[in-house]
Symmetry: C2
Subunit: 196 residues, 2 copies
DNA sequence: CTCGCCCGAACGAACGTTCGAATGGACCCT
DNA sequence: AGGGTCCATTCGAACGTTCGTTCGGGCGAG
């Protein structure tokens, strides 16, 4: 076992426990028991509890952002970009539930020093999504501002940590398709003109 | 000042501080300072910190559910029901940001005894929304299951506590309209058939 | 012998909660 | 009217626990 592997083990265990119990409710003694390391031993790998949270957030966000950019770049047209973006986000979410739960739920738990780095990643992600939406409906004054549409999409996707079970009857890719359809066409019937 | 008024003052102050700092990060001493009551004095009104959270959640959820049912009942047709439901939720959210933030963010922080009561209210709300959606598209096998559509709507609306500022350029009623339009028709152009 | 790695034991601080007493108005009996 | 008793309300001070973190040293491979 190398140093890096043990740090990774600590981080992934911490992400799991944070995801289940929440950051504040998790004690270093919980992590000690769960990792098999001693209480003091963990401090050889991280400077403290907050650095654990920061590293988890930073690494996860970097990975999801990188993947999202790759997914968008691999697309052919505007609708395809959206489809791939949603699919990547939902699939990644399902495969890294604990980390994403921490990312969604503990977005404001870091002190300024660490928060800034995560916020920078977050801005890049929001910007990416907003661009995709702008290309999708290049109207100068759409009925729904691109910013609102972007955060509505984030809400739809990030909220799944409260209800979705990736091992249930709906596969991640399936959920992504449903989200994409919903987000593109709404719940109104396929027929364009609705009552009223 | 009556007993009830002081309890109300304690609860609303606690909701505010919980909303800003989070439940776990808030100490009883914080609440003592913020309410002007003594540390021990607060225990005359509630049995402990957890009852504060429970009362806030229970009262807020009851109120939002009651209002939502009234809004739906006042509507004329299926689309109107959805419109009023979204408007009520968003407007209520904007007017009670702290409480709704606590409700959204601290949904799993209660012990079983209290959680059950809140979960019962939550189920009623989910059921209400699902019914509205089912009436909107009575298809037996819609492209998007009603349950998924319901949680997508909740996600879109509840996520606003992370980004929306009710005192900003977008008024709550305006945001509700945008959400309704987005949810009904999607981001795709009014023209029904999209590229691909 | 050195150094990267690990840990038992302890430290000081902060936490939620409790205790016992003090306050003051309402009410009763004479 | 006055004296006495109760009870709702308040709070300073402390209690026991648990927290994140640190200290000093131990251990094994090079």
């Amino acid at each position: 076992m190398t140093y890096d592997q043990r740090l990774e083990h600590l981080l992934s265990t911490a992400a799991h426990v944070f995801g289940v119990k929440g950051y504040y409710a998790t004690t270093m003694r919980d992590l000690s028991r769960e990792t098999g390391m001693s209480l003091a031993g963990m401090y050889y790998y991280v400077s403290g509890k907050e650095e654990l949270l920061a590293l988890i957030q930073e690494r996860t966000f970097s990975e999801v952002l990188e993947g999202a950019e790759a997914a968008v770049n691999a697309a052919t047209d505007a609708v395809d970009r959206l489809q791939r973006l949603i699919d990547h986000h939902v699939t990644f979410f399902a495969q890294h539930i604990d980390e994403m739960k921490v990312l969604s739920h503990e977005a404001d738990s870091l002190s300024d020093k660490w928060q800034a780095k995560v916020d920078a990643l977050k801005r890049r992600y929001v910007h990416l999504v907003t661009d995709v939406l702008a290309a999708l409906s290049p109207d100068e004054t759409p009925k729904v501002p691109h910013r609102v549409a972007a955060y509505a999409l984030f809400g739809m996707m990030n909220w799944i940590y409260t209800w979705y079970d990736a091992t249930g009857p709906i596969a991640p890719a399936e959920l992504a398709e449903q989200f994409t359809h919903l987000y593109l066409h709404g719940v109104a019937r396929p027929a364009p003109s609705v009552t009223q």
